[in-house]
Amino acid sequence: MRSHPSDKNKDVARVGLPKEFPEPERSSMKIIVAIKQVPERDAPVRIAADHKSINEADLQWAMNEPDAYALEEALQLKEKNGGEVVVLSAGPERVGSTIREALAKGADRAIHVVADDLASRDALGVARLLAEAIKPESPDLVLTGLQSEDLGLGQTGVIVAELLGLPHSTLILQVEKTDTGIKVKRELEEGWFQHIELPLPAVLTIQSGGNKLRYATLMGIKRARTKELRTVAAADLGPAPAPVLALQNIALPSKQKSTQILPGTAKEAATALVEKLKFEARVI
């Protein structure tokens, strides 16, 4: 990993530089944001004939929302401190559209790990791909969303940190550059928070809600077309490890309660509901 130049720069600043010499970028960071393409939230979910996947034919795809917050955090850090934002995504060809969206929002360039076998990899196998793609970049900071909206594992960022030998923290709402590294605000349960200091390089998983998400501008979309999008074949990042966890099947969840669905028009259903709440459940 790249050693951080902040200490050296301080010394340089102390002795003073000739005016024409460019101001050293004291705190600029190279940030990699790992993003995932997931089915759009309201997409119809149908179990495929193999009972191990969902039908992709009628699906629309979107950027995993927590990853969008990770991207937003990276873009804001760059705006504050300078540096570079590189997006990284693994998946089949369709992932390209989500990568373009990230570039349109302001990422500088992108790496697409082209992989058609993600579903047969466990979390460790996917994290290995990402870690191998990240290594040669030697970033100062790796950000990703705290979990994906499809598999919901919430592990990828932490495993990537472990594979890269980097410190990490999860469920992060704010990131602040310090002289020695970064200070982050981590969300705990039930409305509690905690500040944590980490040296760089480091890996963070970002919780939603820390920032407001930006939209891609028309200019951004135009610019994205000219930005570098490098593709790497998954096979070039090493053989896929044997998974230690296998999906047996996918099924519809069984109901925990027997729900009474109240039929009819909005008015009929509402009237029937009030009756039920009053005389059956006796809660109003």
Partner: protein, 321 residues
């Protein structure tokens, strides 16, 4: 065959979800004993608390560097323990924020993958976890060798099922740790904003989710809440957008509530929300998607457009009073 359950504490007390994890561990042990692990710089009181739960053994994982939680400290300490406590087949955890922070790294360091957020354990054993925000269940089976790491979802197992009546063998394990291994510096936890709304004592709650589409539509919800005399709450995205203050958020990152009546409007019912409200006495769900997971926990449901149903419900409530 050996099953460990790693208990977690908050404010010096072992958490309820830890006892639920112990129940899952008991199921995996299938009659054999379960060993509980308590972690800290000093673990007397945690050990005493665990001893009352009838584990076959309790291991006190103690080190001065474990006084405060850090992922580096916990990963190293548990790795050291598990490698010494061979053969360990299962290591069970509550699926807490803390567990999410370090157990994936611990598992990866040992060439394993955490089977996280498990809602049920079937024969085999197979482990059920939710996919697509609770719309589907996936059944998973470990295929590797070595210890298997499992974390269980809050509320998925009954806490009172843990342990037997036997008295536990208590031992202390001092892991190999030095300060240089711990790379992160945590500070003391603090409360977010001053909590002025205590939803946990509310008798009625009307809760709103993404279905409301825009902040401008919130008066619809306020009118229903006013008619019922209910507090207003929300799922996370509404608070993330700043449409309602964070203190009105219900779910794993917000408040846990159990009112007499919980009306979920336009909330699909991701698990992070469900854990905060499924203990409510009566749950009403209003959603346009008949497959939304919120209907799995609802007593009454209306499948329809909330922009039509909510005003009609407000009128019906007013008329009934």
């Amino acid at each position: 065959m050996s099953v460990l359950v790693v208990l977690e504490d908050r404010g010096g007390k072992i958490t309820r979800t830890s006892w639920e994890a112990a129940a899952a561990a008991t199921q995996l042990a299938a009659g054999a004993g379960v060993t509980a692990v308590v972690i800290g710089a000093q673990t007397e009181s945690l050990t005493a608390e665990a001893a009352a739960r009838g584990f076959s053994a309790i291991i006190r994982l103690e080190h001065a560097l474990l006084a405060q939680y850090t992922p580096d400290g916990y990963v190293s300490a548990l790795q050291d323990l598990i490698q010494n406590a061979k053969p360990t087949e299962w290591v069970v955890f509550p699926h807490s924020y803390q567990v999410r922070d370090y157990v994936p790294a611990l598992a990866a360091r040992m060439g394993q993958v955490l089977i996280g957020d498990v809602v049920a354990i079937g024969d085999g054993p197979t482990f059920t976890r939710q996919l697509m925000q609770g719309r589907l269940n996936g059944n998973f089976k470990p295929t590797g060798s070595g210890p298997c790491f499992v974390s269980v979802q809050s509320g998925a197992f009954r806490a009172d099922g843990a342990g037997s009546s036997a008295s536990a063998t208590i031992s202390t394990f001092t892991p190999n740790l030095d300060a240089a291994q711990i790379r992160t510096k945590p500070s003391e936890p603090f409360r977010g904003s001053a909590q002025t709304v205590d939803l946990s004592s509310a008798q009625m709650i009307v809760s709103v989710g993404r279905g409301i589409r825009e902040a401008e539509n919130l008066p619809l919800i306020e009118n229903l809440a006013a008619a019922l005399g209910a507090e207003i709450a929300a799922s996370r995205p509404i608070c993330d957008n700043g449409w309602l203050p964070m203190e009105r958020q219900v779910g794993s990152s917000g408040q846990s509530v159990a009112p007499k009546l919980y009306v979920a409007v336009g909330i699909s019912g991701a698990i992070q929300h469900l854990v905060g409200m499924k203990a409510s006495q009566c749950i009403v769900a209003i959603n346009k998607d008949p497959d939304a997971p919120i209907f799995e926990v609802a007593d009454y449901g209306i499948v329809g457009d909330l922009f039509e149903v909510v005003p009609a419900l407000t009128e019906a409530v007013k008329a009934a009073k």
